[in-house]
Each structure stands twice: as C-alpha cells, then as structure tokens.
C-alpha cells in the first residue's frame, strides 16, 4: 500500500502544474487527441460521408436517411427510386432492365415530402439525375417531420463530423469495428443492386399477406391492432363530413409545390415518375367514417395532374381504378401492398400505361369512388366483431 502511494507521489500524473498550468493544460492537452480522433473518424467513415470504405468491405446502413448521402455521393448511379415504404420493395435491378439507366433505391421509410426534399436538394446540387421515381403518399397531408440528419445534406462539410461525435461511432472507430451497428449490414453492397431497404421477405411480414384470416393471426401486431376495433365500430358510426376545406387546400398545394414541383420545374433534364400508392379499398372505406376526406383527395389529385401538365419531364401513374385494391390478400395491412404492385408500377412506366392526365383524371376518380362505395365491408366487420367478442 505504501509502495503504491509512493509510486503515485513520484508519478508524472501527480506532477503539480500550478493553477495557471492546470488551466492551460485543460484547454491544450486534449487537442492532439481530438485531432487524432478526427483523423481516425475520417478514415473509418462508417456512413461514407467522406469516401468509400478504406480497408473494409462496402456496407450500408438500413436507415436510408443516413445511407442516402454516401450512396448518392460516391456511387455511380444516375436514376433514383425515392419513395417511402411504398417503394422500398421496388427493385433497382428490375428498373434498370425495364427503364434503362443506373437505378438505385434510396426510399426513406415513413418519410414526409419535406424530408425527401432534403435528399432531392442535395442530389440536384451534386449531379444531374436522369430519372427519379417518387411515391405520393398521403397526398392530402400537410404533416412535416424533421428526422433527417440535416448536417449530412447541407453545404457545410465541417459539421459532417458532428454526425460522428457520439459514443457509438467514437467507440466503433477505436477498433475499426465491422459490426453492423457500427458500419451497417455486410451483404448490403450486393443488395444495393436490388434494394437495401426491401422489407417484403421479412419473417413477420410474409405471413400477413394472403387474406384477412392472416391478419387475424397477427391481430396484436402494431400495424393491425387498431384495424379490428375500427372495423367492429364501422356500422355504428356515422359518415365523416366530406367537404373541401379551402385553407387546407392552400396548405397542401404549398407543401407539394415547395417540396416536389419545385424540383420538377428546376430540373427539366430529369424525368420524374410519380406514382399514387394504391392503398387498400378497405382503407378508403374506413376513412369515409374515421379518416381523411375523399373530396379533398380528389381535388388535390386533380390539381396535381393539371400542374404536372405544365412539365413534359413528369408523369403521374395511378392504379386505384384496378381491382387490385379490392383484394385484401394483396395487403399486409391497410396500406402496404405486395411486391407485384411494385413490378406493375415499373411495367406501367415502361409501357406508358396507367398515366393520369387532365383528360382522364375525372373518369379515374369516378371509378375509384364507385369502387370504394361498392366495397363490401360487412364480412370483415363481422369477423372483427366476433374476434372482439361483441
């Protein structure tokens, strides 16, 4: 014990620096360590902000809000699938074969228009993409979200480092870890050819397609648990007021103009393909009593079609006039369709089918509305009621 104390007293760490020396030390001693840390983080660069990986295989994070920066900056793609979960299953490989160009899927799960605008802004600032495939989810929503790591997509390169200044990446960089939490999944380069963010093959998802009985099997799933309750209350509920709110229209159109049409207008060399994701008919039927209002949707879609008419570099595709949305077996929940719809969308773009124009939009919306009205919800409501013991 005495020995230890003696050693400590003689140790360099116990050297008295004096008060002034201490203050200077506190401010200066960490500097070399910070510089070394910054150099190490620059070289390690797990998200590929600065360069492609050195001394390790190419990997990407599944969170495309983070990964999109590296993919768009360091890889040689010229066409982008930029949707939400509605386009996450769209195969870049299929797109390449059907539409030409070097496609990659950088869809941001659950993203709003303003979040995707951040990526578009970055993309058009650094290159001239030939084609962009974009899904118009929740068209009448003015909801914005700010989950993007903005520092990765702004003009400043210095604050890019701030993305790495946290315990997770600092600890990972010390050992140049190849763990998926540090650098992303290991087979992601191969999956980039198709879609890194593809979810259709996941274990808990496959089983939910195929029919309503499969939904029942997963009745406690986050995406389904409220559906049965809503279904059981459908009959007893009165229809929601259906009217166009002018103020909302102005807000919706402003949101779309700012976050979508601006890019179409400014980048005439790029071909934009917009798709309206065909949510299940059941979704629209329930919405008539519990959700958004259909007249607003019709009005917004008609306006969007007329706006797109001004730009020869943009086309809109719609699939809600098909019987596809009537079949619950095509859906894992109220909105997410099977991968065959993603293929159908690519086919439509290739073949020039299902295009919505000012000439056919009225007929399209009429067909869609009549299909919603005719949709028979009763058998499903009955099952839901039995299930809930009502």
């Amino acid at each position: 014990m005495w020995n230890l104390k003696n050693q400590w007293n003689q140790s360099i760490f116990n050297k008295n620096l004096g008060e002034r020396g201490f203050i200077v030390g506190v401010l200066l001693i960490p500097m070399p360590f910070i510089v070394l840390l910054a150099i190490n983080l620059y070289l390690y660069d797990p998200v590929q902000i600065f360069h492609k990986p050195y001394f390790r295989e190419i990997t990407f994070f599944g969170d495309m809000r983070v990964a999109a920066r590296g993919i768009t900056q360091h890889y040689n793609f010229d066409s982008y699938i930029l949707g939400t979960s509605m386009l996450e299953n769209t195969s870049a490989k299929e797109a390449r074969e059907k539409l030409g160009g070097k496609w990659v899927n950088i869809s941001l799960s659950g993203s709003t228009f303003n979040e995707r605008a951040v990526v578009l802004e970055y993309l058009f600032k650094h290159q001239l993409p030939k084609q962009v495939l974009y899904s118009l989810d929740y068209l009448v929503s003015v909801h914005t979200r700010n989950n993007m790591p903005i520092q990765l997509y702004n003009d400043s390169s210095i604050d890019d480092f701030s993305f790495y200044f946290n315990d997770r990446f600092i600890l990972c960089s010390f050992v140049w870890s190849k763990d998926k939490n540090c650098v992303g999944k290991s087979d992601s380069e191969a999956r980039l050819e198709d879609s890194i963010v593809r979810w259709i093959d996941k274990e808990d998802i496959v089983g939910r397609f195929g029919g309503f009985e499969n939904w029942v099997k997963f009745k406690n799933h986050e995406q389904l648990k409220d559906v049965f309750k809503t279904l059981s209350q459908y009959e007893a509920s009165s229809p929601k007021e259906n009217s166009i709110i002018e103020e909302l229209n102005v807000a919706i159109q402003g949101n779309i103009t700012k976050n979508i049409l601006k890019f179409v207008k400014q980048n005439r060399q790029t071909q934009f393909y917009f798709v309206i994701p065909p949510y299940s008919r059941l979704n629209y039927k329930l919405n008539s009593k519990f959700g958004g209002n259909f007249l607003q949707f019709q009005s917004t879609l008609s306006w969007f079609v007329s706006e797109l008419g001004k730009y020869p570099n943009a086309t809109l595709y719609g699939f809600d006039d098909l019987d596809y949305a009537d079949e619950i077996a095509n859906y894992k929940d109220l909105t997410h369709y099977n991968v065959d719809m993603n293929l159908m969308q690519l086919d439509a773009i290739r073949d020039g089918k299902h295009i919505l124009t000012s000439e056919n939009i009225e007929e399209y919306l009429k067909t869609m509305e009549s299909k919603i009205l005719e949709y028979n919800i009763e058998p499903l409501a009955k099952v839901a009621k039995e299930m809930l013991g009502e």
């Binding site: 620096l17 020396g21 201490f22 203050i23 506190v26 001693i29 200044f165």
Partner: protein
Amino acid sequence: MSGGGGQNNDLFIESPLSSLANDSFSLSNPNPFNPASSKIHKLNPKFFLILGIVFNLALLGFFKYTDFFLENFNAFSKILSLDFAIPLPHILLPLAISFFTFQQIAFLVDCYRRVDTQDLQEERKALNFLDYCLFVCFFPQLIAGPIVHHKEMMPQFHTLFARIGSFAVWGHCAKGIFIFSLGLFKKVVIADSFAKWANAGFAVVEQGGNLNIAESWATSLSYTFQLYFDFSGYCDMAIGLGLFFGIMLPINFNSPYKSLNISEFWRKWHITLGRFLKDYLYIPLGGNQNKKYQDSKFYAILNKVFTLRNLFIVAFLSGIWHGAGFGFIVWGSLHGLAMCVHRIYGFILERFQLQSARFLKSKVYQVLCWFVTFNFLNCTWIFFRSENMQGAINLLKGMFGIVWVEMPQKIRAPLLLANIEGRNDTLIYLALAFIVCLCFSNSIKKLEQFSPNLLNALFTGVLFCYSILMLASTSYTEFIYFNF
C-alpha cells in the same frame, strides 16, 4: 442572460426594484444606516414586511399559476353548468422568478428580524442597490439555483474587488474549470442520454399507451437519473462559473440517492431549497418545537401532531413551488406523507426505545432502507415528470404489471425496449448511473480534494472536450429546472 425558452426577461427587473423599496423600509426602522429613513421610520415595519412578501408571492402566483387556476375554474364551472370558459392568458414566465422570489423573501424577513444582516450593514450607511441587484441577479445561479442567501453572498461581493489580481484568482479559476467540466459532462453526456429514453417512454404513456414492464422501469429510472444529473450538473456548472468570478456558491447536492430515508434525502437533494423552506416556513410554523402549545398538558402529543402537520405543509408547498399542475401536487403530497410516516416511525422507535437496536445498525437493514427510499423516489418522480395524470398512472401500472403488455419472444434490449428507443446502451447507462450515484463521492468532495496535477488536467480536459463535441452533435435540451 439566456434561459429557458419562452421566458419573459423584461419582467425580471421589476421585482428587485420593488423588493428593494420594501427592503429599505424594513431596514430603516429605526435604521441608523439610512439617512432617508427619518420620514418613514415611524411606519410599522411588519406592514412593509407583509407587503413585500405578498407582493413577491403575488407576482409568483400571477405568472406561474394563473393558467392552472383558470383552467380548473373553467372545468369546475362546467360541472356546475355555468361554463364561464375564460380564455387562458398563457402568460410568459419571467426568467428565474421561482428562485429570486425566495431569495428576496429571505432578504426581507432577515431585515425585519435583524438576523444575519451584518453583511448588509458593514461599513455602510445605506443599502447599496448595486450589491442588492448583484445578489438577486448573479447569473451563474440565477436561472435554476442554488437558492443563495445574502449572508453567504454579500460578504463575498464586498471583498470581490480587493481580491482581483491576487494569486487566489487563478486557484478559483482552476477549481472553476474543474467543476464546470464535471457539470457539463453530467448534463450533456449523461442527463441528455437518459432524456431520450425518458421522453420517449413518457410520450407513449401520456398519449394513453402502455409499455411493457421492462420499458416502464427503464423509463422511470431514466427520468430519475436524468433529473439528478441534469440538476446537479447545472449546480456544478453554476459553482464553476461562480468560481471564475471568485464567488463560492453553496452546495446543493450531497449524493442524495445514497439516502436511507426520505428525511435524509431532503437534507441532501436541492439543499438550498430545503434550507429556505426550513428557515422561512417550517420553523415559523413551529418546526418540531411548537412552543405555542408548550403550556398545554397535552403538549407532548400536540407537538408531535403539529410537527407532522408542519412537515406535510412544507413538502406539499415544495411540490406546488415546482409548478402548476396536479402532478406536482401529488408529488408534494406523497413526499409530505412519506416525511410524516418516517417521523411516526421515529416516534415509535423512540417510544419503545429501539433506536439503538442491533438490527437497525445492520447492513441488511440499511440496504432495505435504501431500497425502499430509492424506489419511493423513483415512483414519485413519475408524477413530477408526467404531463398528465393518465401518463403517470399508465406508467406505474406498467411497472407493477397491473397492465401487462406482451414481451417480445427474444429477450434482447432493442426488442425489449423498442417503444422507448432503448438499446444495449440503455442498460449500460442505467448500470453505470447506479454505480456512479452509489459508489463514488460527489463533485463537491472532488472539488475539496482538488489538486492541479496532470491527471486532473487530463481528466478535466477529456470531460470538457468530450462534452463540447457532444454538444455540437446533439440538439439543444433545456435544463429541467429552467421550467421552475
């Protein structure tokens, strides 16, 4: 002065001015130091004391509780079918009002009682307005405490200029940067990490959702540690900033989560608030003496009953002081009850002369005491934090399995804590927080043992720089006590 968002800084200036007017009256009757006092020295000083206290409390009540009062008045009138529906004014809270109100009341009372006023009178003919303003507005501790007393601040202000240029300035600065870095690290790295999980968990329960048992405990413990590291971090930073100016602020924390009973907890948590409430509320109420009844033949019983009443009132008002909301009322009441239960337990031990029983000194008993105290604190913080009562009750139901949410099949942290965005880090942070709170000495002890050696320079430099780097990479999270 930068502070909590949405606070009204302009209003801050009114209170010291008006309070000083009252303070002058109080000191001046009969005040040998104030020549201007001749015209007013015949006025009743008690009147001015009451006026000053009422004015300060009225300001606090107006700014802090108007919305709460009107909201409940509207709800009550609706029940009586009167439905006044008075619109809520949403008054902005003046910066630091809860803190400077207490400091000014203490100042008024001491001037009236003529206790601890030597610091005001020394070599002075009249109260110096600038000194007074500095005492109330001293920015390091202004926004969230510690609640300082003039007897510990004024003498330091008087000698401040005499000390400039002396060698002690560097010593203070070295100590200041040491404890400031500790505080910054506690806030930015530890408290803000816990804040992510606590906020996510409370957001779920406040919106009517339920969490599984692991998420519920992780949420409540995260908040328990967030609050501690946030507030004690702030106080360390305040002490550090004070030291840069050569001013030593009072200690506000003394390892409170090591407490073995609720009474000890309140002697160690937010010490300056406890000191204020003891000196200016508990003792004036009678404290544990209640001499008003000493002539009664039932004095022994009456004294015990009134001591319990006094304890409850102090804890209850402490709850209300923290904010306008039923959560704070419940939190204060529970702490009041706990103080009473603890005191009754003491009475019982005393009655049966068990204070020196062997079991009460055993390790097992002490661990049991700590376990009960810590869990009581952990559960009551839920009411303190939750924005609505439903959230607090939902979280408690989840913690004790009253509402059982299915657990994932694979017991892995990210799945188990999915609703609070928890990962393995959550468990590691919780384990480390327990170790730090229970096994290490606190920052004040570290400051006392401070020596400007190389190891401390390295340690301080790493904490400081790491905290600054974290600050640069995360979004701004306000100090919790800015809201009070």
